[in-house]
């Protein structure tokens, strides 16, 4: 096998397109995951069993089954029910939904980590429930879990190539397309592989610094 630098050069324009799509999917997916996860976490602390149970069952199910199959499910089954999204939207929903079940656990741990005295003080001051959550508990809980949430951003980045399987041309998708046209597969794959490390490594360094600052 010969390493071909010219293939790398030819791949670069497609690569940059892929980077943009990857980042777009990541940012949107993260927004979905962070918001939905908070919804799940709050629902799991609901006083109503009819809210708690279904949410727990559904999130456990999603977390313990492969993202890949979930993407296929969303991509192929939803249209059978008459719901059609673009491939990128499907990918964002799939990625976000899958990781929302992880962030839900993170939020939950963060909420559990707020000392009982904070709830008691809020009760003693007769603060309404919504105020207790949004002014007292969540600001403290989220501060504690920022590093853990950040780790899932990195994890989502690393799982984002999965959406190439439903036809989204993010970095890996572009590499595969390049390979299918030119039959040069190794060069674009190496470029993409290095790109992931180059993005993920500083991110994880940043997160560790953040962790030292926030979690004392």
């Amino acid at each position: 096998m010969q390493w071909d630098w010219s293939a790398v050069g030819e791949f670069m324009p497609m690569f940059w397109d892929g980077v943009l799509v990857t980042l777009q999917a990541l940012v949107l997916g993260v927004i979905v995951a962070f918001t939905l996860g908070l919804v799940w976490a709050l629902a799991q602390r609901s006083r109503l069993k009819v809210v708690r149970w279904p949410v727990t069952v559904v999130t456990e199910f999603i977390r313990n089954t492969p993202l890949l199959v979930q993407l296929f499910f969303l991509y192929f089954v939803l249209p059978e029910w008459g719901i059609t999204f673009s491939a990128l939207t499907t990918g964002v929903i799939g990625l976000g939904l899958h990781y929302s079940t992880y962030t839900a656990e993170v939020y939950r741990a963060g909420i559990d980590g707020v000392p009982a005295g904070q709830w008691e003080a809020a009760t003693a001051l007769s603060l309404p429930r919504s105020r207790t959550w949004f002014a007292v508990i969540l600001p403290q809980a989220i501060r504690r879990v920022v590093p853990a949430l950040g780790n899932y951003v990195v994890a989502m980045l690393k799982d984002s190539p999965l959406i190439s399987t439903i036809g989204v041309l993010e970095m890996l998708g572009e590499a595969r397309q390049f390979g299918s046209i030119t039959f040069q597969m190794v060069e674009p794959l190496v470029v993409v592989g290095i790109a992931f490390i180059v993005i993920a490594y500083p991110a994880s360094l940043l997160l560790r610094a953040l962790e030292r600052r926030l979690v004392r």
């Binding site: 199910f61 089954t65 492969p66 962790e211």
Partner: protein
């Protein structure tokens, strides 16, 4: 549109068997990698720590799917056709999840009280004896729950090999979808199968953890709520628990 025929069901169950094999082999290989790299990262020689650290950092940033593509395309095609995809997959999964596992091993080993090491030295144990008789037995119970999480991740990760043509259940799912022209039933079946596998794995690991704790005289962990009754509860290893 048509029903899933017995022949197609056979395909699904063959795929299920492949998935189980992939999980077992990758976990075994990954376990060895995790132990070796994890211990290397606590080694007293800096060069050993450095090299194993680099290995960990690279895989921390690597996308498993991209790495798998690399292994499949860059590996010399010297072996027989059928053998390669399965073992290439095991290699890729083992190296990736072994790297994650090394962090678990490293953490648990460095959490064992220094006094325990000193006791080993005082009794003139060799480092290997000390590791085998003192350090690992104490670190093991703390490793089991995070390793369970990793095992579930690995099980889910095996689905990736279907993209590269290994005939696991996800692959069988695509074949059935093409044959029946329907996606809903088969993908539902397949998701449930993964869930059941995850359930079984978690149950097994729970037993393992109880034995490990009993083995060093600790009480079994407390029972949780609904999720622990479902048997699949992933504790997040985050710093959120501690106060202040």
């Amino acid at each position: 549109m048509s029903e899933i025929t017995p022949g197609l069901w056979e395909l699904v169950f063959k795929g299920l068997w492949i998935t189980v094999q992939l999980t077992v082999y990758s976990a075994a290989f990954g376990g060895v990698v995790a132990l070796v790299v994890g211990l290397a990262r606590t080694h007293r020689l800096w060069i050993v720590r450095f090299v194993s650290g680099v290995y960990f950092e690279i895989f921390r940033g690597t996308s498993a799917l991209v790495f798998m593509f690399l292994v499949f395309f860059a590996l010399p095609m010297g072996f027989g056709w059928q053998l390669v995809p399965m073992w290439a997959a095991v290699l890729a999964m083992g190296l990736t999840y072994g790297a994650y596992g090394s962090e678990v091993v490293r953490g648990a080993v460095s959490a064992v009280a220094p006094a325990q090491r000193e006791a080993g030295i005082a009794l003139s144990f060799t480092p290997a004896q000390s590791l085998r008789k003192i350090i690992l037995p104490q670190a093991w119970p703390d490793m089991v729950p995070p390793l369970n999480n990793l095992l579930i991740e690995l099980l889910k990760g095996t689905a990736l090999v279907s993209i590269l043509g290994v005939g696991d259940i996800s692959f069988a799912g695509q074949l059935v979808r093409n044959a029946t022209g329907q996606s809903g039933p088969i993908y539902t079946v397949i998701l449930v199968m993964y869930f059941v596998l995850a359930f079984v794995l978690t149950r097994g690991m729970r037993v393992l953890e109880r034995q490990a704790r009993a083995g060093i005289g600790q009480a079994p962990p407390k029972k949780g709520g609904l999720t622990s009754r479902l048997g699949i509860r992933q504790q997040n290893q985050i710093a959120a628990g501690g106060e202040g």
